[in-house]
C-alpha cells in the first residue's frame, strides 16, 4: 500500500507541476493587469507544437535549438497578442479584455489547426525513457525534467518580482496603473513583458510535458482549464499560491483516481475547488481583495 501511495504522489507531483506552470502564467498576467488570459493554454500548445515541427523529420533542427526557437516563437506570439489584441483595447473594462483573450485562444487554435493539422504529435524524451525505480514506484527521466524545470522557473519568477526593478515595476502597474505611469513607469512596456513572460512559462510547460503527454492543436484547452482552476485554488493574485494550487490539484486528482475512483477524479478536484471558493473566496493563499472606490 505504501508503494502505491508513493506512486500516486509521484504521479500527482508530475501532473501538478504542469498545472503549476500554467497557473503561474495566469497569475503573472492577472497580477500585472487584473485580466485572466484564457489564451494561456494555447501558449503551452504553441510551444509544444513548434518544438515538434522544428525538430521533426530528417532535416529537423537539433533538439536544444528546436526547443529554444519554439520558446522564442511562443514569446513572440504572446507579445504580438498583447500589442495587437489587448493593447488597442486598453480603455476597455477587464471583462471585455478577458473576452478578447477567449477570442484570441480560439483564433490561435484555428491557426494551429491550419498550420499543423489535426494530428497528434510526440516529442522525443530529453534523456531516454528508461524508468527510474524508487522502491516499487517508478518515474520517467522526463518527469524529473518537468519537476526540475518547474522548480527553477518558479524560483526565477519569484526572484524577478521581488529583486529586480523591472519585476517591481510590473507589480506596480497592477497596484495602480495611473500612479505607476506618473512615477515614470512605461506601463505599455510592462504589459508586453508580462505577456511575454507568461508565454515563456507556457511554452516551457509545453516542451517539458510534450514527451509525456503528446500534443495536438487542441491540447491547450484542457491544460488551460486545469491551470486556471489551480490558479483560483491557490489565489489568483499570488504567483506562489498558484504554484501551490497546481501541485495540490495534481495530487488531489492522482490520489482520488488511485484511492477512490478514476471516473470521479475530475469531479473530486472541482468539488474541492468549489469548497475552497466557498470558504475562502480569494483562494487558499490569496489576499482578500478590497474594492477601492
Amino acid at each position: 500500500m505504501a508503494d502505491q501511495i508513493l506512486q500516486f504522489l509521484l504521479t500527482g507531483i508530475t501532473v501538478g507541476a504542469t498545472y503549476a506552470l500554467v497557473a503561474l502564467g495566469f497569475a503573472i498576467i492577472y497580477n500585472a493587469s487584473d485580466v485572466v488570459n484564457f489564451a494561456q493554454g494555447e501558449f503551452v500548445m504553441i510551444g509544444a507544437m513548434s518544438a515538434v515541427a522544428l525538430s521533426a523529420g530528417d532535416n529537423g533542427l537539433p533538439m536544444p535549438v528546436a526547443l529554444l526557437l519554439a520558446v522564442l516563437i511562443t514569446v513572440c506570439v504572446g507579445v504580438l497578442l498583447q500589442r495587437f489584441a489587448i493593447a488597442p483595447a486598453r480603455g476597455a473594462s477587464v471583462v471585455t479584455t478577458i473576452i478578447i483573450t477567449i477570442g484570441a485562444s480560439i483564433f490561435l487554435r484555428g491557426v494551429a489547426l491550419l498550420v499543423w493539422g489535426k494530428d497528434i504529435f510526440a516529442l522525443p524524451a530529453f534523456s531516454g525513457e528508461q524508468p527510474i525505480h524508487i522502491g516499487q514506484a517508478t518515474l520517467l527521466p522526463q518527469n524529473l525534467w518537468v519537476m526540475g524545470g518547474t522548480g527553477v522557473m518558479v524560483l526565477g519568477v519569484h526572484w524577478f518580482f521581488s529583486h529586480t526593478a523591472v519585476g517591481k515595476a510590473v507589480l506596480a502597474c497592477s497596484c495602480n496603473r495611473t500612479a505607476a505611469h506618473l512615477m515614470g513607469i512605461n506601463v505599455g512596456l510592462m504589459m508586453l513583458i508580462a505577456y511575454g513572460l507568461s508565454a515563456f512559462l507556457g511554452a516551457m510547460a509545453g516542451v517539458l510535458v510534450a514527451p509525456i503527454t503528446f500534443t495536438s492543436y487542441d491540447a491547450g484547452v484542457m491544460l488551460g482549464l486545469k491551470g486556471f482552476s489551480a490558479a483560483i485554488l491557490g489565489g489568483m493574485g499570488n504567483p506562489m499560491g498558484a504554484v501551490a494550487g497546481g501541485l495540490l490539484l495534481g495530487l488531489i486528482e492522482s490520489l482520488s483516481a488511485g484511492l477512490i475512483s478514476s471516473g470521479y477524479k475530475d469531479a473530486i478536484g472541482f468539488v474541492i475547488l468549489l469548497l475552497v471558493l466557498f470558504f475562502r473566496p480569494s483562494g487558499l493563499f490569496g489576499r482578500a481583495s478590497v474594492e477601492r472606490v
Binding site: Q7, H133, S262
Partner: protein, 381 residues
C-alpha cells in the same frame, strides 16, 4: 399591369419548364450524403467524402449505373447531429435523392433514423454504433463493424491464450464508454471476469494512478478501450510501471499514429483491426486482398495515407450501386430489398452477407487480430 403579370407568369413557367427538361435530360441517379467533413469528427468525414467523390467519378467515367450517371448531393454536418437532421430533410424533400449513404458519427445517424423510416428511403450508415441496426430497422443499414464485434474478437484471442481475468481501462468519451458497456456485457457470456474497471478523461496526461491499482489486482491482461492520446499514454505508462501483463487495445487506435506515439512501449500490444490496415501483409489467397490493394493505391496516389473510414464509404457506395443494378431501377422499395439481399459482397470492411435479420452482415472474420512487432503490424494467426 395585366401584361406585366402575364409576362412574369410566362417567365416563371418558362423557367420551370427549363428546369424540368434539364432534370429529364440529366436523368441521373441521385445519391444523397451528409458527412462530418469539418469539425471534431472530420477524420471520419473527410476520407469518406473523398472516397465517395473518387468512386462516383470512376463509375460515371465507365458509363454510370443502368446507363444513368450518378450524382452526389452532399452536405457537411461538421459533426453535429442537429444539422444532420436538417440536411437529411433537405436531401429527401428538396433534392429528392434516391438513397442516402452517409452519417459519419453514430449520433448523427441515430438522429436521422426516424426521418428515413418515415419517408421510406434506403439509408446506408457509415457510423459505428451497434444501436443503428440492433434492433433491425426496415430502411436502415450500416457497413462499419461494431464495438461489440471488436470486444468479441479480443475475447476470442484472450481465450486462445488462456486469459480469464482482465482489467479494463476506458476513455470517458463516447467511444470509450460504449466500448466499456459492450465489454462488460459480453465478458460474462465469454467466461471472462473483469476484475478492475478504471477510466480516464479524454485529455488526461497520466494514467499511472489507475494502472498502479490494476497492478495490484490478479488480472491476467489489460484491455484499454478508447481513442486519441489516451491509449498511447496508457501503453507508455504500462511499460513505465514495469507491468508485464499482455496489453490489448481497441480498433479505435488502429493506425500507424498509435505506433508512432507509443514508440517502443507499443511492442507486443494486440488489437483488432480492419484488414485494410494490413492489406500488403495478407496472404495472396485472401479474397479481400485484390480489392484492398486497389482501394489503397487509388486513395494513396490521390490523397495520402488510407484510413478505414474512407473504406466504409466505399463499402456503402458499392453496396448501394450493386443493389440499384440488381433492382434495375431506383424504385426505393426495390432498392431496399436488394440491399437486404447483399450476399458475398467483398468490401474493405469484410465480406458482407446481409439478411432481413442482419442489416450489417459482417462476422468476426472481418476483424484481423494484430500484434505490434518491431514497430509494425503483424497478423496473429
Amino acid at each position: 399591369m395585366n401584361i406585366r403579370k402575364t409576362l412574369s407568369a410566362l417567365a416563371v413557367s418558362a423557367l420551370m419548364g427549363l428546369s424540368a427538361t434539364q432534370a429529364i435530360a440529366a436523368d441521373s441517379i441521385k445519391i444523397g450524403s451528409f458527412l462530418a467533413v469539418t469539425g471534431p469528427a472530420s477524420f471520419l468525414g473527410d476520407p469518406e467524402l473523398k472516397t465517395l467523390q473518387m468512386y462516383i467519378e470512376k463509375i460515371n467515367a465507365k458509363g454510370g449505373v443502368n446507363g444513368k450517371q450518378l450524382e452526389l448531393v452532399h452536405y457537411d454536418t461538421s459533426g453535429k447531429a442537429k444539422e444532420a437532421v436538417g440536411f437529411a430533410k433537405r436531401l429527401i424533400k428538396k433534392d429528392r435523392v434516391d438513397l442516402i449513404v452517409g452519417g459519419s458519427t453514430s449520433g448523427s445517424t441515430l438522429a436521422v433514423i426516424p426521418l428515413v423510416e418515415k419517408d421510406r428511403i434506403p439509408f446506408i450508415s457509415l457510423a459505428g454504433s451497434v444501436k443503428i441496426i440492433d434492433p433491425v430497422k426496415k430502411w436502415v443499414f450500416k457497413v462499419p463493424h461494431t464495438d461489440r464485434m471488436a470486444a468479441a474478437k479480443i475475447f476470442e484471442d484472450m481465450k486462445k491464450r488462456g486469459i480469464k481475468r482482465i482489467a479494463l481501462i476506458s476513455g470517458s468519451g463516447g467511444f470509450g464508454k460504449s466500448g466499456r458497456a459492450q465489454v462488460l456485457a459480453l465478458a460474462p457470456k465469454q467466461g471472462i471476469e473483469v476484475v478492475a474497471d478504471e477510466s480516464y478523461g479524454a485529455k488526461d496526461t497520466d494514467m499511472t494512478a489507475q494502472l498502479t491499482k490494476i497492478r495490484n489486482t490478479d488480472a491476467q491482461a489489460i484491455l484499454c478501450f478508447g481513442f486519441g492520446t489516451g491509449p498511447a499514454i496508457v501503453t507508455k505508462n504500462v511499460r513505465q510501471l514495469g507491468i508485464k501483463l499482455p496489453l490489448y487495445q481497441s480498433h479505435g487506435v488502429a493506425s500507424k499514429k498509435f505506433i508512432e506515439l507509443a514508440g517502443e512501449s507499443a511492442e507486443g500490444v494486440r488489437l483488432p483491426a480492419s484488414a485494410l490496415l494490413v492489406a500488403d501483409k495478407l496472404p495472396a489467397s485472401d479474397p479481400q486482398k485484390p480489392l484492398l490493394m486497389a482501394y489503397k493505391d487509388r486513395f494513396e496516389t490521390k490523397y495520402g495515407p488510407v484510413s478505414t473510414f474512407g473504406g466504409h464509404a466505399y463499402d456503402g457506395l458499392m453496396i448501394a450501386v450493386q443493389a440499384i443494378e440488381r433492382a434495375g431501377s431506383t424504385d426505393k422499395a426495390k432498392v431496399r430489398d436488394q440491399i437486404e439481399q447483399t450476399k458475398g459482397f467483398i468490401g474493405t470492411g469484410g465480406i458482407f452477407n446481409m439478411s432481413p435479420k442482419d442489416h450489417l452482415g459482417l462476422d468476426l472474420s472481418a476483424f484481423k487480430m494484430l500484434e505490434i512487432k518491431n514497430g509494425d503490424w503483424t497478423i496473429v494467426k
